[in-house]
Symmetry: C2
Subunit: 484 residues, 2 copies
């Protein structure tokens, strides 16, 4: 494939006119969802095509795309697979610029389907139409407020691009990121990749100024060499985070019957990802954790953890999790020990992990002073924080007996504190990962404060250690290629 | 130690009278929290002891425990460490039956602290007082509504006991379990174990009818031989789930400075846990997952996963996660394939993982029929379900356009369906793990329906695979010792 023009990308991601071929009045159907989702953007001219219905969701429908009295930038194809070739021929005749085929039942179905898929691809190529799919669940661009996924409501504009060779996984990643407060730029369920392949999208995103981070779900690559050459050029400027499945026997088989992709030897992929600076994570949850961290945190200078814990047990668990992930537990500088001696009771163990030795709820204001002292320590590259920086309402009102006014004042102090920590995170290039979770992870007031401070928040030490391992590795890669 | 009498346990876990020595008016302090928590149970007679204040939280306080005009079953000691020996002497003189020492600054502090700890233990032993701690964060019994942790409000009564050699970790486990809807029986932060040790509690819980599952956080064992002999006797009747830290260099050091316990060689522990049927998990989150599953699910007969997924990507990720944890992907029986052919479009891959090949939201009612077919398959021992069984409100109201009455009727149908699945889970001894998570994990109506059906719900395939691996292992252990 290759050589996709700028115009093609523009028509795919910000078309002025869209035809939905197979638009349907049936609630919950693909042809209904896609159409209704597209109607979010009032500026765009959207034309339903349905031979059996004069109107779809209250909008005049056309019997065929040929009847639409407007040029069409993007055709969204949602009809039965056997009539897709005919529809594609009509699109060519109509002069349609680009298409997305949501219909499935092609290459993933074996020989018959592969034949049908080739037929459609040949028609499109000869007619100059570049297309996504088939067997795609949709694509989206938040800048142009385009989504063929059947999403409703305004999409916040962001700088993360997601490419996934599985529609369900694409949506799952998109939703997880969104729930973490991350806005996306573009996302594509690439489907069977009969025309546009992952490598094409990657090449496009390489120079797309709106994209700062690229997240990928990969089952198999059509042109591995091209992928890794591209990746090598991109990763010094933009991180690429990948989940690649097919590493075990059954997952490889599942992949084959899913998108028809060959999974390939896992060890080869692992080595190639490593050499080209691609951060390979284990599953979609880790992908989201790492994207969040890359977007919201500097990369640590090294692999030495500082652990600050309100109790000994959580500190020991965190130390174990770090070491299992190949991170080191930094040795505190003497000056840090002196500083902490001034802040903690004589019961603290005077070593890392720093166990605060159980201060009561009334004493947690000391946590940020401890954190600052540890951030200043030259032997620590990042901090895992297992202690509260923010008190939840039940503590403030219940145990401390504060009234509404006093709680408000307390919150303001906390917000200032978090902003201050953020400044130090940037200045020292030391990520802080928050793991205090007894309460508050579900309190929007508290999560809101952490989001303002762009804190990495993990529910679990192992998850935190894995995120940091990836950040450490990527920083190391960048340092090596920069000759540091 | 050993030979703790029934009376001692009764005084510790359901005392009629409690003295809080070091009760305090300072909001948020240990001596304030413990006292206020104890006042939850109105039947119990609670006496604050504070030499400087005639009243604590509005209750008459005594200058010394000697002044209390009542016999005391349990003394809660929250005074500075240097005066603990004197207080313990007074407890002996007063004829106190049992105690818990929350005060820290003992064995975990090195030689000086160890000396002080031994002094206190000697006084108690000579005076016939059995005690928890020192350096404990509290203990609780939900049947007698006793808590020295400073928890407020009624505690639901359950059948899970938690023992933890870290107070913070104890509370974290208790809170995680509670948030999953699990009621606890007893829990103890065992502290430095100067008198009562983990092995003593275990011996007690072995024959405690209120305890069905035992969850432990262990840093080190004082009497490993006794522990494993006990465990061997207990695990055929009651599962024991353990997190044991100290497996890496730094975590071992952290453990030593925390409770003064020696972590010991990890490989020895691993082998001993295995031989005695103890389920050893990796961290506190896994502990909670496994306790939930043991409480709410039968054990699977074997290690063969069935995977039912709404999309190919999530199915492939789940297959990979299972295989990485040593689980197998079952081969579907021909009869199952025939059944599924009748339920799915020709696009489904006709193999496990069963990819539903993207039905629209309107078609999800087919999921339970597919699930039933897979549960009947003799080649599958448990099912991972990556597809919705319950529709969230926004789908019902938005995409399907249902009104409030129709939504109510739909919910009733769903509840019946979940009850039916539950019946089959029991009848076939096939756990079903739900991993559909795009929405609804935070909707109390939906989580409520799953709780009613006692579903195992995991946010992530790796987490699900690990839980199942532990269940499979435990079932295998039980089969082997039963000579099956």
């Amino acid at each position: 494939m290759n050589n996709v023009t700028k115009d093609s990308w523009r028509h795919l991601f910000s078309p002025a006119t869209v035809a939905v071929i197979g638009a349907s009045n049936t609630a919950g159907s693909w042809g209904n969802n896609a159409l209704r989702g597209l109607l979010n953007n009032k500026e765009r001219r959207v034309y339903p095509v349905n031979p059996n219905s004069p109107e779809v969701v209250g909008i005049k429908a056309y019997r065929s795309i040929m009847d639409i009295p407007d040029a069409i930038d993007l055709a969204v194809i949602v009809v039965a697979e056997r009539i897709v070739p005919g529809v594609m021929r009509q699109c060519v005749a109509k002069g349609v610029k680009s298409a997305i085929i949501i219909t499935s039942g092609f290459g993933e179905m074996g020989d018959e389907g592969r034949k049908l898929e080739r037929e459609v691809a040949d028609i499109a190529r000869q007619g100059g139409i570049r297309f996504i799919g088939p067997n795609s669940m949709g694509h989206a661009d938040t800048r142009s407020q385009l989504s063929t996924f059947g999403q409703f409501g305004e999409m916040p504009k962001g700088e993360v691009a997601v490419l996934a060779q599985s529609g369900s996984t694409c949506l799952k990643i998109v939703r997880s990121l969104t729930e973490s407060g991350i806005a996306l730029g573009k996302y594509v369920s690439t489907g069977n990749e009969a025309d546009l392949i992952t490598e094409d999208y990657l090449e496009y995103l390489a120079d797309d100024d709106d994209t700062k981070i690229i997240a990928l779900y990969v089952e198999g690559l059509r042109d591995g060499r091209r992928f890794f050459n591209l990746a090598k050029k991109i990763t010094p400027r933009k991180p690429i985070v990948v989940v690649k499945v097919g590493g075990t026997e059954e997952s490889a088989r599942a992949v084959m019957s899913h998108t028809g992709a060959l999974a390939g030897a896992d060890a080869v992929y692992t080595a190639a990802f490593k050499q080209s600076g691609v951060i390979r994570v284990e599953d979609d949850d880790e992908l989201c954790d790492v994207v969040y961290a890359l977007l919201n945190s500097p990369l640590p200078r090294g692999n030495r953890a500082g652990i600050l814990s309100i109790g000994g047990g959580p500190g020991a668990l965190a130390a174990e999790a770090c070491e299992k992930e190949g991170l080191a537990i930094g040795k505190l500088e003497e000056s840090t020990i002196t500083k902490l001696d001034g802040l903690l009771s004589s019961r603290w163990p005077r070593r890392n992990p720093v166990d605060m030795a159980g201060p009561s709820a009334a004493e947690i204001s000391v946590v940020s002073s401890l954190l600052f002292a540890m951030m200043e320590d030259k032997n620590l590259d990042f901090i895992l924080l297992l202690a509260p920086l923010i008190m939840d309402k039940s503590l403030l009102a219940g145990r401390l007996g504060l009234g509404p006014e006093a709680i408000k004042a307390y919150r303001e102090k906390e917000a200032k504190n978090i902003a201050l920590i953020r400044e130090k995170v940037e200045a020292y290039e030391k990520p802080v990962v928050m793991m205090w979770q007894w309460r508050g992870f579900s309190d929007p007031e508290i999560t809101g404060l952490f989001r303002q401070g762009r804190f990495i928040v993990c529910s679990n030490a192992r998850r935190a250690a894995r995120v940091l391992r990836y950040l450490v590795w990527y920083r190391h890669y960048l340092d090596v290629i920069a000759g540091k």
